[in-house]
Symmetry: C2
């Protein structure tokens, strides 16, 4: 029987622009008595990645367009925030109920193009999504290997609302070292029946599992280690594999 552990990484400093996340994660994990091991999956919430990468803007520095002002007025939002959301969006999916659902430049469909006010220091500052979350994941993985000598997988997670179901869950927006989808088509079930439609979004399930220890509001734990889950390695993985093309989307 193999028990999987979800280990919160505590004691990280407040992450600021230029910080060496891979190093800080290794140090914090070692300090708390759970040093990084081969095969660990390190899940990092995007907001600390964004902060480390300097992807923070001050709304006071933003000059909103007339379009942003019009939308902001209609939805009773800050025009500068709306302007930032529009700049980060490839297209607008829907607006209503005070929310802007848009497609980010990466292709993720989420609220406010992933622009985040929470857990960003400075009253007027917001965090943008990392420019290339796969690259962010690769860099952190590489640094962890340099510092600790261990081969891990890294996921960058974000909190997404979703169609059909209430409440947000955490999903992966950047991946490195792990196949994000486990294709089980062709495997046999308990009774010899061959599975036909089984492709598990492992990277999203791992991100959701990590969220169980990542207290975004009260405890400030931005990183979790998942230990004991045997995953398929991949050197060219990308979170784009998790994006369903609209023309193949039967749900909407």
């Amino acid at each position: 029987m193999r028990i999987i552990q979800i280990i919160p990484v505590t004691g990280l400093p407040i992450i600021k622009s230029g910080d060496d996340l891979g190093l800080l994660i290794c140090e914090a994990a070692a300090r708390q008595g759970t040093p990084i091991e081969d095969g660990d999956i390190v899940v990092v919430t995007h907001v600390v990645v964004s902060r480390a990468e300097g992807r923070v803007v001050c709304l006071d520095d933003i000059i909103p367009s007339e379009f942003a002002k019009t939308i902001a007025k209609e939805f009773n939002r800050d025009p500068a925030l709306v302007e930032v959301v529009l700049r980060e969006s490839k297209s607008i999916v829907r607006m209503g109920d005070g929310h802007i659902i848009s497609e980010t430049k990466h292709g993720f469909i989420c609220a406010n193009a992933g622009v985040d006010k929470s857990n960003v220091p400075g009253e007027r500052n917001v965090a943008l999504l990392p420019e290339d979350p796969d690259l962010s994941a690769r860099r952190i993985r590489q640094r962890i290997r340099e510092v600790s000598g261990k081969d891990v997988a890294v996921l960058i997670s974000d909190t997404h609302g979703r169609p059909l179901r209430n409440g947000e869950i955490n999903v992966a927006i950047g991946v490195s070292g792990i196949k994000p989808i486990r294709d089980r088509r062709g495997e046999k079930d308990l009774f010899g029946y061959t599975l036909k439609v089984k492709q598990t979004a492992i990277a999203d399930e791992l991100s959701s599992a990590a969220e169980l220890v990542i207290g975004q509001a009260d405890e400030g734990i931005p990183v979790a280690i998942i230990r004991g889950y045997p995953y398929e390695k991949s050197e060219d993985a990308t979170a784009r594999e998790l994006i369903r093309l609209r023309e193949k989307d039967l749900f909407i």
Copy 2:
């Protein structure tokens, strides 16, 4: 630092109609050295619940309607299977690419109304979803309390495809003893900012975490225990809280 454990429950017998799932789970957990504890979250895949509740039909006993035959022909599917899917559906959302996406009588939108061929003994047998998965969860929780004296939460999980993202994840279709959504609106973040839109679908994240040990194809582990996650108790919880009403769905 609080580590969460995801413990597979191994050594369960092949579940058949009439089996006492709560008792069997307690026995198997104790046998493997991880007896049920207060505060455990017991995640049970729906297919064993369906089998225990006798929610299995043999396709040879089904007389397909003309409508089912027409659809089956168009999509190259078994007419009897299509008939069962239609009977389990409240409405059809979309058909295409060999799949029927429908709304089940419970209100879940998923492929084939949750009718499942995998992990069901008998070549022509399929499992339907439990008639009332919340009630199934309540019964299992009650039996676990009677047998072990422990107060746990129980989730019935199912594998769902989803809009916007590739791959399936596990979500909760039945809940007992736990609030399925953790409402964090009003809490303060690391820097004193008050969260405005944070409602975490804990029951879905726990179901996804459990799936990491629930090997549906190869190992036959239908139950997992999640230990060490502090959840909000609820005596009147229902998985219906997780269903987003269409008129409030900004995504689709």
